[in-house]
Each structure stands twice: as structure tokens, then as C-alpha cells.
Symmetry: C2
Subunit: 149 residues, 2 copies
Amino acid sequence: MRMYPGLSVVTLGVIDVSQSSQFYERLGWRRSKGASNPSVSFFGLNNIVLALFGRDDLARDSGLVSAPSPGLPDGFSGITLAQNYGSPGAIDLAFDSAIAAGGKALVEPRRADWGGYHGVFADPDGHVWELAYNPFFELSADGTLSLPA
Amino acid sequence: MRMYPGLSVVTLGVIDVSQSSQFYERLGWRRSKGASNPSVSFFGLNNIVLALFGRDDLARDSGLVSAPSPGLPDGFSGITLAQNYGSPGAIDLAFDSAIAAGGKALVEPRRADWGGYHGVFADPDGHVWELAYNPFFELSADGTLSLPA
């Protein structure tokens, strides 16, 4: 099974989740209280989910070295693009197809700390893609997520 | 007018547009021939457009210094997030609201080299947002774009 042509979540690595969340809330965007917690914010946009997560945590979860000093570059773009899938098995297959296409494995598919399952790879320019199964979010057939209020 | 809650285009800055495009085509994703040219590739995904554009060009268009040496960090994440709007006037208003919310202006709204109109700002962590009017792409009411085949 190949990767479906879609994008579920864009995650921005941030220095301070609360401060950055306030910026997006000032835009008038609504933070999902049900999905968010102090260490991660989720905003359900019209066609995609925007997530804010600590930059160092995001690097570590992506199999990259974290950048302890804010502002110091570390080869990590600070952004990850995620596709959600309906099962761990679907991720295994899609991940294999991405590696076969030339993606560089960063995290082989495995159970994730947050209770789901994911694999992470980099495209030829180092852009980070995560393939994720998240049992806590409702997933539609085209890969878009529905967050709780 | 505020920024609508949506995302039209994710643009990845790449070293070689052709090479990177081939990677995404190997995933089975279809490059829009009508919208793409040798310097930029557009892939119409289910819910969003993925664009590949030279990293240096992307930095320059975003009002940031370009990074002449691949792999050398320059404070630019290498990715931009874009919202499309139906008119230059709508961009002016949305841009003002983003700056009022605390965004940092990188490119004040103006005509763009590619024939449209855009403004660019950074969020508190330096993530780059472009607000764009593109007369060549069909725009739906929720901000999603339809590319030519």
C-alpha cells in the first residue's frame, strides 16, 4: 500500500507552547481543548490540523537530535508533516513504500509514547514526514482528522 | 477581516526541484503538469497543495536571506505555509490582522514576481506564513485550491 495523497497534520516546533498557542488564538483560531494539553496544542482548521509542540520534543520524536538552545540551528526544519492512518498495519505498508521510493528512515514504525503508533522518514531534502495511527482522533477516509471540541 | 482557519499550500524548499519531484512521484502522487514548471512543482493532494520550490528562492520570496550552501542553517525552516485569498484587498486585511496578533512582517503585501499578490509574516517562532492571491489557480470558498491537470 502506498502513501495516500493527503496531509493530516502540520506540526510546528515551538519554544513555548502556551505563548505560541496564544498567537494562533489571537488570529481567531480555535484550540481544541479536548485534544490539547499543556505540552501540545491542536487547532482543527477547515482542511487540516495545525499542531504546536515543543521544538526539542518534536525533534526527538522524529528521531533527530534535539536542539537544547532556542534559535540554534540543528539541521531540523522545526516542522513535521503527518499523514494519519487507520491502523498500525497500514502504517507499516505505507512506510515501506516511502523507503522504497527513496525516503530515509528516521523512526522505524513502532508504538509511540503518546499511545499511538508511528513511523518517521525524511524526504531527499530532510523534510520530515510522520505516518501516524492515533486511536484518540476520529479519522475520515481521505485522511482528515476530526478533533474533539 | 481575520485570517480564515485553513491552509492552502505547504511549500517545501528543496535543493533540486526535479530530483525532489521524482521522489514524490515515486510515492504515486501526481504532479500537476499544468501548474508546474522546471522551477516549481505542485502536487494537488486530497485536501491541500504540496509545492516544491528552490530553497534559496523560497527564502528570498519570503523576505529572508537565502542560504547559498545546501545544508548550512540560516534561520529559515525551509518550509512555508500559505493561505490563498480571492483578492489583493482580502490579503491586505488578513495581513493586518496577523500583524495585530503579533506576527512579524517579512514582506508587506505587494505584487509578487509570479504574477499574483502576497504578504509574508512570521509567527512567534519564526515559522513563515504567506497570504497569497493567485489569479491562475481556482480557489474554493474554504481556501482549498484546484490545480489544472
